[in-house]
Amino acid sequence: MLKGKGVSRGIGLGNVVVLKKVERKIEKKTIENEQVEHELERLHKALNEVINETEIQLKNISGTESDIMQAYLMILQDPSLISETENAIKNDKYNAEYAVEVGFNSVVQIFQNMDDEYMASRAGDILDIKNRVLGKMLNEKTIDLSNLKPNTIIVATELTTSETAKLDLKNISGIITEIGGENSHTSIMARTHAIPAITGIENATSIFKNNDNVAIDGTLGEIYVNPTEEEKQKLLTLQKQLEEEKLELEKYKNEETKTIDGTKVKLYANIGILKDVEVAIKNTAEGIGLFRSEFLYMDSDTMPTEKSQFEVYKNVAEMMQDKEVIIRTLDIGGDKELKYLKLEKEANPFLGFRAIRLSLDNLPLFKTQLRAILRASAFGKIEIMFPMISSIDELRQAKKVLEECKKELDDENIEYDKNIKVGIMIEIPSAALIADKLAKECDFFSIGTNDLIQYTVAVERGNERISKLYTKFHPSVIKLIKMAIDGAHSANIICGMCGEAAGDKLYIPLLIGLGLDEFSMNSNSLLNARKRINNLDKAECVKLSEEILQMSSAEEVEERLKEFKEN
């Protein structure tokens, strides 16, 4: 048995598919005259295979993505590129692989040297095509993530966001990764879709082989390779138990979210991609408390246009049928790569040029997004949220840009919700400390605990060596949460929370006691949270929170909350 960190509960049995990055070496060979014909054939065979594959992919997609695929197809058939490559075989007598290198690289270079940032980054697209053609020539097997066999267990170093977006979720029964924490995108996605997941298995991509039979327990982080009948039975019993628990939760689907004494709170879902909305609805989310719009940007090879964003936002708003949908504007920085936006690598990306700072510095990008959100607001109940606000000036500047966008739409006679609400994330201590001032100039708050903790205790989220110091139970974190909630209430606005802590059974009583109005979390946690909230008494929670605010250490807080849970 192997042991890692369980990041998404549940039992999964199935066969392994390993996603491994292959290292490729292209040899430069000189060929004889009589081999020219053969190498030309190899070139065209590979080109045609990639063309056929692209045409098949094209049938299953639409919109911007399909336009880009069309462009890919044309590049693959481009007369100048092909003659350049053929000449490298015919005249220079290179082998087909090396000819592809020469032919494509000459084009790549032209693009790389262009002074236009957008065009320069297109070099990446051509490299991408080149790699696919070479992959075919060298007979490398690529895995089509969107079309997997039933009961697949994915094994990878780490899944990228674009890989995650492609995943054929219904056929995946588990995910094993080498790196990535509890809050990595893969983990969040796995929890949303109730796929068992385990991380922290060193060298997993070498240990496991394709088609290995594996059973995983995402709760305990245990992996059984070729499980014995006994082990299988044990896990199947556990699975049955989990299903029963789930069934037990079903009855909460029809209940309102309120404490025993009748205090109502809002129970919302966090989403990242369109697929998540269905899961949110299935789990009776009362709204969307956080729509992470950055996925739209990360999954695209080009800057998403106003139209393509508008369509996604409108879709979500319509699916949620007049329930609140809070869209957070782009929250991205130097730790993530966007092909079309050259972000410099920074020494401290989490303290750097990111989120609202980036948006305010790149107005065309910011306005495109705001206009798309505004236009979608005519089709549902959309609200806007700015991430990483650290000062009142940033809020004012962002609101000013929003007003400009509204004016533009007015001039163009385009409809939008004139009373659209504007809120901010409270995720930086400096914002929590002036919450009362910020509350006077916006319509709602949402506390982002993951970042708030990181910035309060000065612990980077992903750093394993100091991960013990990263805790939501730190009294300072709790004080800042209280300041945010009190600040909001002093101006009669709502305060929510969209970090993982909002769905934590231990933490919920404390948050109810502090007066939190809205709890937004992973869809898969919603019913558990409703069960927890509906069995609490507000007065008791207030007493608990007062007691906790007097405490001086995280251990004390955690212990007290555990004790409360048992009561």
Binding site: D67, D78, V107, M119, R122, T302
Partner: protein, 87 residues
């Protein structure tokens, strides 16, 4: 041979998608179609040629068609430019 000047109104320039539309349209005609832009001449039937010309917003482009269906080709391509390639 027929010619006409247009001004590119796509804000992000002739990037992959509109360049693809243009090349596809151009390839559907028999005549040769060239773009004269910034002192260079590029083949409108090659998407890479168009993209590599790095044509930016508000640039003047001369479209030059030469061959049997040149008039029809010119009219169609001018129309696409005026529609900003659907953006």
């Amino acid at each position: 041979m027929v010619k006409e000047k247009v001004i590119l109104k796509n804000e992000t320039g002739l990037h992959a998608r509109p360049a693809g539309e243009l090349a596809k349209k151009a390839a559907s005609f028999k005549c040769s179609i060239k773009l004269n832009v910034n002192g260079k001449t590029v083949d409108a039937k090659s998407i890479l040629g168009i993209m590599a010309a790095g044509i930016k917003y508000n640039t003047e482009i001369e479209i030059e068609c030469d061959g049997e269906d040149e008039k029809e080709a010119l009219a169609e391509i001018v129309k696409d430019f005026n529609n900003n390639f659907g953006e």
